[in-house]
Symmetry: C2
């Protein structure tokens, strides 16, 4: 069973993932995108090569299909209870929860930069369905949905896919946002990101795009060139409460944004992550859900690892101007 381990000196957790165990010889040859793997386990017709389907075909008006499968090498196990063990300074929680893969397209070579809004809508819809599914699981404290696109972003398969990790702890990145959000709410009786959206719209310098319901900002302290953040303009803390027309509007802006990033930066590798309120408190006045998008154009180096400070050679104001034009 994989283990979640807490670092005795920091807020860090690590999952020691025994299901995907690597010995030195496995590590030497770098994990590449397995272009050669044929047939691809995510191809329609090759369903028996992937793990069990956990979410049946979702059909949107154009019969676009999203299939969600269990991860074949899960970092978190579906079975068992997340028992905590403390031995002196060492805290361990059994890595229980879930680890799933969204097959984002039937087309093995689909690129996000050319996907249509209706395709994004189908993906977002499947995200919402899986969030709803996991709400029922009392062992799970948090559900993180994320995407690795391209080898530099850690994708080990080429076929477009997203992932879901259901964890028995709230991730430190989210805890940190919640703590600051709660302090801000206590002081001002307003949500910190609602305030930020208002300030950014007033300034106009870092708004990359906007529609009726969503806004795309290049964050003030962007960690990497062309980092962006998509936020609902109205306060909302969880993705389960997102309406069909919200999804339509979000899909529209995502299609536009990924097309623009892909055109400007030659279809780069990137990660995106959905940050929502934890399972057990989905409706929070002080937490505002959002999507963080990190293009992987630069390497994280010793300064970033050692300081937790990012050296970013592209001012977010320039990135916003390029993305909006």
């Amino acid at each position: 069973m994989a283990e979640l381990r807490k670092d005795p000196m920091t807020r860090r957790w690590a999952i020691i993932a025994t299901e995907r165990m690597k010995r030195p010889h496995d590590l030497v040859k770098k994990d590449g995108v397995e272009k050669a793997e044929r047939p691809c386990p995510f191809e329609s017709g090759s369903e028996e090569l992937s793990a069990a389907t956990v979410y049946p075909h979702f059909k949107d008006p154009e019969k676009y299909k999203i299939r969600v499968v269990a991860n074949k090498f899960p970092a978190l196990s579906y079975k068992g209870m997340p028992k905590t063990t403390v031995k002196g300074p060492f805290t361990t929680i059994e890595a229980v929860g879930g680890h799933e893969v969204f097959i984002d397209s039937e087309d093995h070579s689909a690129r996000l930069m050319t996907m249509k809004p209706i395709e994004f809508a189908a993906i977002l819809n499947s995200y919402r369905e899986r969030y709803k599914f996991w709400v029922e699981d009392q062992r799970v404290k948090y559900v993180l949905i994320f995407k690795n696109y391209g080898q530099e972003a850690g994708a080990s398969l080429e076929h477009p896919h997203s992932q879901l990790a259901a964890t028995p702890v709230v991730p430190p990145r989210v805890v940190e946002e919640m703590e600051k959000g709660e302090r801000h709410y206590k002081d001002h009786k307003r949500c910190i990101l609602c305030d930020l959206i208002r300030d950014e719209i007033a300034l106009g310098e870092r708004v990359a795009m906007m529609n009726d319901r969503f806004i795309v900002i290049c964050p003030f302290a962007s960690r990497v060139p062309f980092e962006t953040m998509i936020l609902p303009r109205e306060h909302a803390s969880s993705f389960t409460e997102v309406s069909d027309s919200d999804i339509e509007s979000l899909a529209d802006i995502m299609a536009k944004l990924f097309n623009r990033i892909g055109t400007l930066l030659d279809d780069p590798a990137y990660n995106y992550m959905l940050h929502v309120a934890p399972q057990y408190s989905p409706n929070l006045r002080f937490y505002h859900w959002h999507i963080e998008i990190i293009p992987r154009l630069t390497e994280m180096a010793g300064f970033e690892w050692g300081a937790g400070v990012y050296i970013n050679p592209t001012p977010p104001e320039d990135a916003a101007r390029d993305l909006s034009s």
Copy 2:
């Protein structure tokens, strides 16, 4: 002037590095190690190609030379005062301090895995000298020394080198360690890492190597395969107080460790970072200096970015066994 910007919602800082400004077309072609650059600016005889030498040749008994130069594209400017500006939720500090490069060897193709203890001693000696130099600078709150080795670790030049960043803020990674260390000291009247060393020696499972003065541990919650941490066995919070014989002993264990990592993992890319107490309080009972070493064998993916939790496929107990054998 480059800016340090504080994220309004987290503890994160970013340096918006205008001296190394990158527009979309610069980002598309990935920064590779510039193997082609001839002559290499760090070569002996090509001193005019690098920026000003800030530290003259240091000669150890074997005339081994370490030269320290200003970074040609500094993320932090040597001139000016670190003025803080707050505009609504946006805090900016002028990125004033210093950014230096240690030319770790006269040999362009030297690999750390085959360097001798005396060569490490010369490098460590130059680190100590630069720490001492920067103590005098009242604008600087912290000096971070780190090394990027190999392209995957963010090295933009092949010639072996380390770097020093002198910053007007204490990096969040260090703040976090100090906070936990101080709490532990209040509760137990002992240093958290002195306690950890005692526990790890008693357990024996994660000790990779050890000599009279230093210990190498594979941390309990290792973020990546073969992460290691080198610590002085006796309590010490700053590198300026390290003695010549300490340096000899540290150089011995580093030569052994890097040789073992290089042999096991085929000379991998890695980063290492020195964590010491801040400039303004070098002698702390609750902070224990150490070196963190991160081999770059796996990619940081969406889960790591979004959660701040690392999925590590190699248990540190296995790594310690492989390194010690």
